[in-house]
């Protein structure tokens, strides 16, 4: 078991290596560069900036330089924010992003799973229709629409919360809801489908025929079994949430790192873009391993060797 886990974690290294090569060469293959403006800088200024940042070197040399610095924990200078190191930019924003992600994750689990169970128990009756409608709306509504609606209604009209910023608990509420909207819907649908499948299993019929109370059947037998597939999606969902949302962070003016994932691409901030990609790749790879390990605890039938 330990060996297995160790091996799985070691596999993250070649994954990150591959991701870094693909990203690095792709981003340099895209036309344009970090100094592009609608008004062009004089050619000489661009050359100087390129020389200062090593962009005049052959591309493979640039990759080696980047990789050598990366393994030593140096993410390089930002091209957009010239006085700052990418390490500082990431360090400044990452905990805000993780905090928002974890809050949204907890909210999605606390709402999504009960919603799915509720729907499954009332299968093809009122509760199911209500819960399914809620989750379809959640999936179909883009997060920027949800965000703006929340701002217009709760911040501008009712004045209960601020429209944006990140200065205290009252600032956390709307972004958390906006970010959780989609995962709530996904988790609810998975839970519902999984519950319905379990309901038809022989061991549930057995449990009922033994005379166990309905509530106990649901909580001890159905939910426990039904949650195994749900756990599978929780890993990537958490990875998605803690690495931040460009849209939510941008709309609510949240000083996290999620916003940089898009702005780094559009401004060709190569070092920041690499840092964000590696961060996201690591989070996905790592949490997938964690989920695999968790299976063993949730489902005694699964054994790794």
């Amino acid at each position: 078991m330990i060996t297995y886990i160790g091996r799985r974690f070691l596999w993250i290294i070649p994954v990150l290596f591959t991701v870094s090569i693909i990203t690095f060469f792709l981003m340099h293959a895209v036309p344009g560069g970090p100094w592009d403006r609608e008004k062009r800088l004089p050619k000489g200024t661009e050359d100087r900036l390129n020389a200062q940042y090593g962009l005049d070197q052959p591309i493979y040399v640039q990759y080696i330089n980047w990789a050598a610095a990366f393994v030593q924990g140096d993410l390089g200078p930002s091209y957009r924010f010239q006085d700052r190191r990418v390490n500082d930019i990431v360090a400044d924003g990452i905990w805000t992003t993780v905090q928002l992600g974890v809050m949204a994750f907890i909210l999605s689990v606390l709402v999504g799973i009960p919603l799915g169970i509720f729907a499954a128990l009332g299968h093809n009756r009122g509760p199911d229709y209500v819960a399914t409608s809620v989750s379809i709306i959640g999936i179909a509504t883009p997060s920027f629409v949800l965000s703006i609606m929340l701002i217009v209604f709760f911040a501008v009209q009712l004045g209960w919360f601020p429209t944006g910023g990140w200065k205290g608990p009252q600032y956390w509420v709307l972004p958390t809801i906006a970010l959780a909207g989609f995962p709530i819907a996904i988790i609810a649908r998975y839970t519902r489908a999984s519950m319905l499948e379990v309901t038809r299993k022989d061991y549930i019929r057995t449990a009922h025929s033994k005379g166990i109370r309905d509530g106990a059947v649901v909580s001890r037998h159905m939910i426990r079994n039904a949650l195994i597939p749900v756990v599978t999606i929780l890993g990537p969902t958490l990875a998605f949430l803690v690495t931040g949302s460009f849209i939510i962070e941008r709309i609510f003016g949240i000083p996290g790192v999620g916003q940089f994932y898009i702005t780094a691409i559009s401004t060709r901030d190569y070092s920041l873009l690499m840092a964000m990609t590696m961060l996201y790749a690591f989070a996905v790879a790592f949490l997938n391993v964690v989920v695999d390990v968790l299976y063993a605890y949730i489902d005694p039938r699964i054994r790794y060797s």
Partner: protein, 576 residues
């Protein structure tokens, strides 16, 4: 975010062009003034205490994180908006763009107008209490031109003696390449024409008479910079920042908020505000919502909200519209394809109803443009409109063009490539134009929306027949406008190339008489538009909402992001 350099460098274009052999100094630009005449800063009528609110806190949004607060390196409007509050140079601007004294009085000018001597005011200090000395100005200016700094605005210093060795021909300065290796750079810096004979005197030697150079010295890049400060780690963070302006950097929470407090060591006009809170939303819809929720005191109205805001009885009363010296235009490819045919370009021009275009796609904000030089800039020609909207004539020109191109109808040309950058609100404008041409001629276009940098690269490479473009004046001078379209120019994405046009621009650049100079620019512009080289559509106007309780706003041409943000120290909050 685009660099904006306003009201200031009227000289620079002339400098660049004058490298061709000007013998006398060029006509002074509107923004500059003759040295030697003293002028006091324009100050609004002092507010009376009874008008003032108890709490003097200004809340604004910068529209993003400043990329840098290193004054020598800054180039974008967000950074400059903050730097205007934090630092002051030898000179500064009033709201009309006139140069006024700051750390020094206006300079003594030598008889040959090539040496400017500044005497610093007595007892002036930085925000940390250290004295501001002449050597700090010298260090700062040398740092701007030092190739190792790679400052984007270094090229504006070309007029200083010895700058050509550092900047080089590739920055439009001198005829030789700039020096590269460290020893040569240090030698060139030692020979650079800025010196401090004593702690209170700064001497700037120019390579040619250029009285207007005071405008360059008033820019944010030339403020005093202490070497021991800027070379220290994390110098531009709030805890370490050493400034010389009316405000100090109290906090800088990255991507979140900047808070400025009055600088009690400041030698100039003391601010009335006790605090400025600058948030950094990057999302216009959120900024507008924050204004409506009462969290902000000013906002630039997002274009999609303009109609609603103006119609709103409460918000509409707070609307302020400020003309910007900017133009929306579309490039025709003058070099290849059907758009290389003059009649074809004329037909495309005449098929567009510009007023309808502005009403449909800019919420009616802005004025129709028929020429390139913008209103307010000498050389603007309100009557120049060789090809007004006229569908009948448009069709005639198209018929002539199609005959010349040897095709039976416009559809036979295939789909013309029509490029723009996607996701920045240009889609309806592109659609409007494409539809107008399709309806008028049956001409089909392939509308290609690309990511910004990709679009810029392809537009510059001439890969589109028609492409979106825009220009904002760096400084109010026709050379910064028409200079775009010289043959092979770096921003000439129209690929326009006309020998007469180039000749007139060269003549204008060395013409000392401003009236004659303007006439030359107008001749050149007339040539370009009789050729229908590009499609001018709209002169810019920006809509802001400003709380009626903001007093002392000195709205002027050196504003960077928001009305009055070049002179924060005059702003105050009225009772409300």
């Amino acid at each position: 975010m685009q660099k904006r350099l306003f009201g200031i460098l009227a000289s620079i274009a002339v400098i660049a062009a004058a490298c061709g052999g000007a013998t006398t100094s060029s006509a002074p630009p509107p923004a500059s003034q003759a040295p030697g005449t003293s002028a006091a800063p324009t100050v609004s009528a002092a507010p009376s205490v009874s008008d003032m609110a108890d709490e003097q806190i200004l809340r604004i949004d910068l529209h993003g994180e400043p990329p840098t607060l290193d004054p020598n390196k800054a180039q974008d409007s967000v950074s400059i908006s903050v730097l205007h509050a934090l630092n002051r140079g030898l000179l500064y601007f009033d709201k009309t763009g006139k140069v006024v004294p700051a750390a020094a009085d206006l300079p003594e000018v030598s008889a040959d107008a090539k040496t400017l001597t500044f005497t610093l005011k007595d007892g002036i200090t930085y925000s940390n209490g250290d004295p501001i000395v002449a050597a700090d100005f010298v260090y700062s200016m040398k740092r701007v031109v030092d190739p190792r700094t790679a400052a984007p605005y270094a090229y504006v210093m070309c007029e200083i003696a010895g700058a050509d060795a550092l900047l080089g021909a590739d920055l439009g300065c001198g005829t030789k390449p700039g020096v590269k290796d460290p020893a040569a750079i240090d030698a060139a810096l030692a020979a650079f024409g800025v010196s401090a004979p004593d702690a209170k005197t700064v001497v700037v030697k120019l390579s040619k008479p250029a009285t207007y150079f005071t405008s360059v010295l008033a820019l944010w890049i030339n403020v005093p910079v202490q070497e021991k400060w800027i070379t220290s780690p994390n110098a531009t963070e709030a805890a370490n920042y050493v400034g010389s302006g009316p405000f100090v950097l109290q906090t800088w929470s990255h991507s979140s908020q900047i808070i400025l407090k009055p600088n009690d060591k400041y030698y100039g006009q003391k601010p009335i505000l006790t605090e400025i809170q600058m948030s950094m939303s990057a999302e216009p819809a959120q900024e507008q919502a924050a204004y409506e929720a009462g969290e902000q005191d000013m906002v630039q109205t997002p274009s999609e909200d303009v109609i609603r805001v103006k119609a709103d009885p409460v918000l509409g009363a707070t609307v302020v519209e400020i003309p910007t010296t900017s133009i929306t235009y579309y490039d025709f490819n003058n070099k290849t394809g059907p758009t290389a045919n003059k009649d074809f370009r004329i037909a495309l021009t005449q098929a567009i109803d510009k007023t309808a275009f502005i009403n449909a796609t800019f919420a009616g904000v802005g004025a129709p443009a028929n020429s390139f030089v913008q209103p307010g800039i000498p050389g603007y020609q309100p009557d120049l409109n060789p090809y007004p909207f006229d569908l009948v004539k448009a069709k005639e020109h198209m018929a002539t063009a199609l005959t010349a191109l040897g095709v039976p109808n416009a559809a036979a040309l295939g789909k013309l490539k029509f490029g723009f950058n996607s996701g920045s609100g240009h889609e309806p404008r592109v659609a409007f134009l494409a539809e107008a041409w399709r309806t008028a001629f049956g001409l089909e276009t392939e509308q290609i929306g690309s990511e910004f940098s990709v679009f810029l690269t392809q537009r510059h490479a001439g890969q589109y027949a028609i492409s979106r473009n825009g220009w904002g004046a760096d400084y109010p001078h026709a050379n910064n406008q028409l200079g775009l379209f010289v043959c092979g120019g770096g921003n000439n994405d129209t690929q326009f190339c006309n020998a007469d046009f180039d000749r007139l621009l060269n003549e204008a650049a060395v013409e000392p008489d401003q009236t004659k100079q303007v006439a030359l620019y107008q001749q050149a512009q007339t040539i370009m538009y009789e050729d229908a080289a590009n499609l001018p559509l709209r002169f810019g106007l920006t809509t802001f909402e400003v709380r009626p309780y903001l007093g002392g706003l000195e709205v002027g041409i050196t504003d960077s992001q928001l009305p009055g943000d070049a002179l924060y120290e005059t702003i105050y909050i009225k009772k409300h």
